[in-house]
């Protein structure tokens, strides 16, 4: 690296990192992100806690209604619906009842099904919880009827558990499909945001220099290529610092994440005794926190580096050609399209990360920073694929930097008319 690139890099990095906006975003970013994820579920949790539904049991079997009343818990308050379903319906419509449950006469013999009526509808959680109560009540009654010995009842109570394990190079690990899909999607979007936002910083930086007409002074001291590289690397270094800070803050928070998640889990729902430990809770919920794979983070950094250089240098070429933001839109369009296409494929990749389509998509240089990272997060990608994808990306960004610097060196001296993509091609061809 020449000393001029270093001088530009230092200045770009220094003056951006010292700005108030940078400091605020770096510190407040994770808090904002976590707030975005935690607040809705917390609100939902509070809402679900606050109300026990009052439900009348219109009992066609004549024997179960007391069992239901006994099964009342903090979520459901069961009352006998002795006046029939007509009365219960009007009570629900008046709002004195939340809903009523109709049990047909042949329920215990397996004829017909229980029906729950309410104004507001059910919702998945409600259905699952109500089904649980129904199962327990009916099972208990049947077992008692048949005078089943205590041991049998206990045997039936202890339901076998299913664990999913993944075979990896480091040995068998708890499969954390849900969590790793989530991580894959988050990292994919994060990569997209990082490349796009830091790339846009570069473009605006170039446009600002052009608009303020400081460029012609600068290029009488520095080669345009050096200025371009210094700027791209300086802003890239700023991005790495910012993301490093975010990662550090998030790491601290995740170390206490188990505690936070278990707050939202109720031991009773998971057939665990109240007061079960945090790890038992998480395990029973099948929500294993994925073990941190250092390789994922290393690849993330490498692919960010490649993807950022690729898009930032092309955006710099766009910035060098225009003076005003609105003129940039048309020239940015092809780049915006290239960076958005992989976003559309993230779900496809998460669902089936090893199909030919997924493999091919994750090798294409303009897509690979996002899609290969998603694949690495959700599955074990063969090393040669990751390496091939990364090398292709490197080759492409070297080419992009070369093309961009040729456009850039002409663009920065052009004022006046709004350039088209054809003009950029012509500038590229200039001697």
């Amino acid at each position: 690296m020449t000393s001029k690139i270093w001088t530009v890099l230092k200045s770009e990095f220094g003056r951006r990192v010292r700005s108030k906006w940078f400091i605020i975003m770096t510190l407040a970013g994770p808090v904002f992100l976590i707030g975005l994820m935690v607040v809705p579920s917390f609100v939902g949790y509070l809402a679900s806690q606050s109300t026990a539904r009052t439900i009348a049991v219109v009992d066609g079997t004549d024997v179960l209604s007391q069992q239901f009343v006994d099964a009342s818990n903090e979520r459901f308050q069961f009352v006998p619906g002795t006046e029939g379903s007509g009365a219960a319906r009007s009570a629900v419509e008046e709002g004195t009842l939340d809903g009523f449950l109709v049990l047909p006469a042949g329920l215990l013999q397996g004829e017909g099904s229980a029906t729950y009526y309410s104004v507001e509808g059910g919702g998945l959680t409600l259905e699952m919880e109500l089904q649980n109560v129904l199962d327990t009540v009916v099972d208990d009654f049947r077992l008692a009827e048949s005078n089943a010995p205590r041991e049998i009842i206990e045997l039936l109570r202890s339901k076998p558990e299913l664990h999913l394990l993944r075979i990896t190079e480091e040995g068998e690990q708890a499969d954390s499909t849900a969590a790793s899909s989530l991580i894959g999607v988050i990292m994919g979007f994060f990569m997209y945001g990082a490349m796009f936002i830091y790339g846009a910083y570069v473009m605006h930086g170039v446009m600002e220099e052009k608009q303020s007409r400081v460029l012609e002074i600068i290029v009488s001291s520095v080669r345009p290529f050096e200025l371009l590289m210094g700027k791209v690397l300086g802003i890239g270094a700023m991005g790495l610092l910012q993301m490093g800070a975010w990662a550090g803050i998030l790491l601290l928070l995740t170390m206490s994440a188990g505690g936070i998640i278990s707050l939202f889990l109720d031991p009773a729902d998971l057939n665990l005794p109240a007061g079960a430990g945090q790890e038992e809770l998480l395990a029973a919920a099948d929500f294993a926190l994925p073990s941190f794979q250092p390789s994922l983070f290393i690849w993330f950094l490498l692919f960010f580096f490649g993807g950022y250089l690729l898009y930032a240098s092309l955006l710099a070429a766009v910035g060098s050609a225009v003076e005003h933001q609105q003129d940039a839109q048309a020239l940015m369009l092809p780049l915006t399209a290239l960076i958005i296409i992989p976003i559309l494929f993230i779900t496809v990749i998460v669902e089936s990360p090893n199909t030919t389509l997924s493999v091919v998509l994750s090798l294409i240089p303009f897509f690979s920073p996002i899609l290969m990272i998603v694949r690495i997060a959700v599955t074990s990608v063969p090393f040669w694929q990751v390496l091939a994808s990364f090398l292709l990306l490197c080759g492409t960004f070297v080419g992009a930097v070369w093309v961009s610097s040729r456009i850039y060196r002409v663009g920065i001296l052009m004022y006046g008319k709004r350039p088209t993509i054809k003009d950029l091609v012509r500038w590229f061809a200039y001697q």
């Binding site: 600002e208 220099e209 303020s212 012609e216």
Partner: protein
């Protein structure tokens, strides 16, 4: 302190030949005025000297070597279209620009301080550029051009946006730099500034040099064919002289006219006419034509 030599330089942009076989030299301790109408190829030529672009043909040498990054560090360039980083503080900005010219931070800090004082701009260091007036920004830009002690200076319209007092200050500074042995290239279309400042001129039109040489020689070649008259009274006598075909009126106000003598008209003849029509004449002088007139004459003929 070396010689700048531009030899047979050609620069084409697509079908347009912006600079067409241009050759000139500029020596240390002299100011070369590069002048010409808009679009004549001044900026294209300057950019090649500054090694921002490269010639398609011909060569540009400074101090006996082809220009390149080495000469960029010994050169100060003040472009016509110029600006500064708006949000950066003046001190930080000047240090950055000096460092890009290859100066050490310590030396740069010292020079920045000296030059800010010279331009009566102490205490600007901590101010953002956008807080400065246009004239103040011009001074900062000039400091950026000279603070690394370049031996070759390229000044493109350096007086734009300066009030008369600051223009005077800048003129002094430029002369000092010349006397210090710097080689100065001064581009402008303001003829009175060129006349006042330059030792040599180089007139370009449509990519070609149409006139060049020491300013004094050029003016002498045109001879003393211009009469300046300052007076009290009615200036209409000048119009009558023009109508009669004796002179061409170059400048006319209510108490001053400049007349170019045509068709062998004698200065004495003009004076006699003027005396017969005016009450009082304060000044009568036979001079070389103003540069402006030479410019119009040469460029007009070329067209």
């Amino acid at each position: 302190m070396g010689l700048l030599s531009v030899e047979n330089v050609v620069k084409r942009y697509g079908a347009l030949t912006a600079v067409d076989h241009v050759s000139f030299e500029a020596g240390p301790g002299r100011i070369l005025g590069l002048l010409g109408p808009n679009g004549a190829g001044k900026t294209s030529t300057i950019r090649m000297i500054a090694d921002i672009t490269t010639p398609d043909e011909g060569r540009i040498q400074y101090d006996g070597r082809a220009v390149g990054r080495w000469s960029q560090e010994r050169m100060g360039y003040l472009p016509e279209e110029r600006g500064l980083y708006k949000k950066m503080k003046v001190g930080e900005q000047l240090l950055y620009l000096a460092e890009l010219k290859g100066m050490s931070a310590t030396a740069a800090r010292e020079n920045v301080k000296t030059w800010l004082m010279r331009f009566e701009a102490e205490g600007w260091s901590e101010r953002r550029t956008e807080e400065l007036s246009k004239g103040m920004q011009q001074k900062v830009q000039f400091i950026a051009t000279v603070m690394h002690e370049p031996s070759l200076l390229i000044l493109d319209e350096p007086f734009g946006g300066l009030d008369p007092i600051n223009a005077e200050l800048l003129r002094e500074v430029i002369w000092n730099l010349r006397d210090d042995g710097r080689c100065i290239l001064f581009a402008s279309h303001r003829m009175e500034q060129v006349e006042q400042l330059c030792d040599d001129i180089c007139l370009v039109a449509r990519g070609r040099i149409v006139l060049q040489g020491p300013l004094r020689d050029i003016k002498r070649k045109y001879g003393r064919n211009t009469v300046i008259l300052e007076f009290d009274g009615d200036a209409s006598f000048a119009d009558d002289l023009q109508t009669a075909g004796f002179v061409k009126v170059l400048y006319r106000s209510h108490k001053r006219v400049e007349l170019k003598l045509l068709n062998g008209t004698s200065a004495k003849g003009v004076l006699e006419r003027a005396m017969s029509r005016l009450n009082d004449i304060h000044r009568f002088e036979l001079v070389e034509p103003p540069l402006h007139e030479i410019f119009v004459d040469v460029v007009g003929k070329d067209r």
